[in-house]
Subunit: 205 residues, 2 copies
């Protein structure tokens, strides 16, 4: 239990179904693929392409992203530094539960701070679950030119403050498991690289 935990009178249930048996019965393991990169880098697009490939193989795969999680689990959080960290923490915990359930999670979040991402990694490693950082790496100019949601335009006009890449920093991963330069490679190749990675790691057959 974390040192800061407020919870008392609780005991940990390991459950009676061993993980190996769950993996065997479902035919695949789970893992968290953490797609990080600038807004407009292509995280969600890549995630959808991977989801299609995996579902086609009967592998349960689920996308978590800033857009849909913020409507539910994290809808009582704003965009202060503290709230952003809590947002990533909650998503990290949820991703861990999915990975434990043998679902391949595609978590697409700008998640600009190294410390937040490292915390999610540690959480998985402590639970013996696979976590892989997938750096969706495009030059700011490319992301800004794509601007699928018109957010860069608003940030440049000062209508949005603390926008990653404009007036807030993005800290690139130092040792990502995968780097996908979506400005230089096709969507198919990007998605395939992730599926190959999962196969190589023994997460899927």
């Amino acid at each position: 239990m974390p040192a800061m935990s407020k919870s008392t009178n609780i005991t940990w249930h390991d459950g009676d179904v061993p993980r190996e048996q769950r993996i065997k019965q479902l035919g695949h393991n789970g893992a968290t693929l953490w797609l990080t990169g600038l807004s407009g880098s292509g995280k969600s697009t890549v995630a959808v392409a991977v989801e299609k490939l995996l579902l086609g193989r009967g592998v349960n795969c689920y996308r978590l992203d800033g857009d849909n999680v913020r409507h539910g689990l994290c809808d009582n959080l704003g965009f202060s530094a503290e709230d952003r960290a809590e947002n990533i923490r909650r998503v990290g915990e949820v991703a861990k539960l999915f990975a434990d359930a043998c679902v391949v999670v595609l978590a697409s979040f700008v998640s600009p701070y190294r410390a937040d991402r490292d915390r999610v990694r540690l959480l998985h490693e402590q639970a013996g679950l696979t976590f892989a950082e997938v750096y969706i790496d495009v030059p700011l100019e490319v992301a800004e030119q794509r601007d699928p949601k018109g957010l860069y335009k608003k940030a440049r006009a000062g209508e949005i403050k603390n926008f990653t890449g404009i007036d807030d920093p993005y800290e690139p991963p130092t040792e990502p498991e995968l780097t996908l330069r979506t400005a230089e490679m096709s969507l198919d190749d990007s998605a395939r690289a992730i599926v190959d990675f999962l196969q190589h790691q023994g997460i899927i057959l």
Copy 2:
């Protein structure tokens, strides 16, 4: 977006894989089974038995319970009325994500307040997902005699305050989808009743 949401600059992604296709490719739908009842009523025991039956059929099924969620997602929450409500809210949101991913969730929480459970039900219904309240109904005397974690003893001794059934109320479901009187029926029959329900609802084949 809820009226109270603090989040701005977000758009909802419906995703490019229709749910029908996900269900077809995985071979089953998802649902949230919300097991509510006193501490010691048998919620976790029933959940483990159902999990074994479903995994044996290749249906992905995952247990969420107060004991393991409180170590992670909710470890910054205590046991005040406000924190208990936020605890159930977060778990409800996570259960919804799992159900959306076509996982059968077995959420085992004392969850003594009707209003909290009704909120989770509404959340699912608004998303077009199946939610079923499973009332694990045993007399307080039976639960207290079982006392698997020694909590009733501590509550009677005044070492634990606001303990459901002793000095805090339990509000039974008014219209549960299933009621399982675990003091009067076998564990096999209880688990089977839940699997039959899922089959009848078309969640599993």
